[in-house]
Symmetry: C2
Subunit: 147 residues, 2 copies
DNA sequence: GTACAACTTCAAGTCAACTTTAAGTCAACC
DNA sequence: GGTTGACTTAAAGTTGACTTGAAGTTGTAC
């Protein structure tokens, strides 16, 4: 039953030691046992950090991860904790995805429709919504050609 | 031909005066004419800022917006500028959208498959990839029930 | 006894896009 | 002359998730 040093833990989970100290500092990890001043960890910390990493991958902030660990009554099962936080996070991600879609729409529209010469022209066009007209002929407002 | 004060411009474009000063400071807006120390703007600044706002909505950073304005040879038409920057940005947005999809996948998988009691259990499961087994019976991996 | 690596703490720095604050200037009105 | 309101500048603060730096401690190796 070997106790791990901070850099050993860091190595195993793919973090830097400073990140692990930070997690302890902000209360995501409980203060580790010290041996002559230095942190020593049991293997369980690897599970802890696996959860943290998975949650980060899933888009949770460190505050939310703290909720996951400490924001429930003590007996609350892990599955219930994930359920609750995930539901909310899925909503946020959906919103984010929609934002991205509308950015893509704007960009595609810009690439397709903007024939402005100067950016000021372009700005004028934007104020009338959409972007500027073609230099010579006015296109008959075709809709996006499939896809 | 009325010259606009900074707060009038801000009001019209929906920014705060401090943002406009900031844009000047970082070189997105050219230094405005001063009248007894105060900034005065012609109507063209509204086009400028319309472009800035549109670019922000499309996901461009302020650095990229500076590129849009000043990162091309002087004669480069606006449409060409947008094309170049948009192509790159669309790639980034695509990557971002994929990240979000994988987060959503992780979360849905978690909600569906995790029946862990403790988060440590959960962490153990994650280390073996996926999450923990059911408490009693093993569910036959049903796929999401519509929607 | 001293060099060294690995750790410690605490404070400050990083990034982006601003905002906030403090202290000062200016023109207009009473 | 005094007050008000809108402006000015420069510097510092904000948020999140860390990293970096400085200065100090510990255990081990030579």
């Amino acid at each position: 039953m070997p106790l791990l040093s901070i850099s050993e833990v860091a190595r195993q989970v793919g973090l830097r030691p400073s990140a692990i100290r930070y997690y302890e500092q902000i209360g995501i990890l409980l203060p580790a046992q010290r041996i002559s001043g230095q942190r020593r960890y049991g293997p369980a910390v690897l599970y802890r950090l696996a959860v943290v990493q998975r949650a980060r991958q899933s888009g949770f902030t460190l505050n939310e991860i703290r909720q996951l660990f400490f924001g429930f009554r003590k007996a609350a099962p892990a599955s219930e904790r994930w359920q609750k936080l995930s539901r909310q996070k899925l909503v946020e991600l959906e919103e984010l995805a929609n934002q991205i879609k509308s950015m893509q729409q704007l960009l595609r529209n810009m690439m397709e429709k903007c024939h402005c010469d100067t950016l000021d022209q372009c700005g004028k066009g934007i104020l009338r919504s959409g972007c500027g007209p073609a230099p010579g002929k006015s296109l008959p407002a075709k809709r996006s050609p499939r896809r």
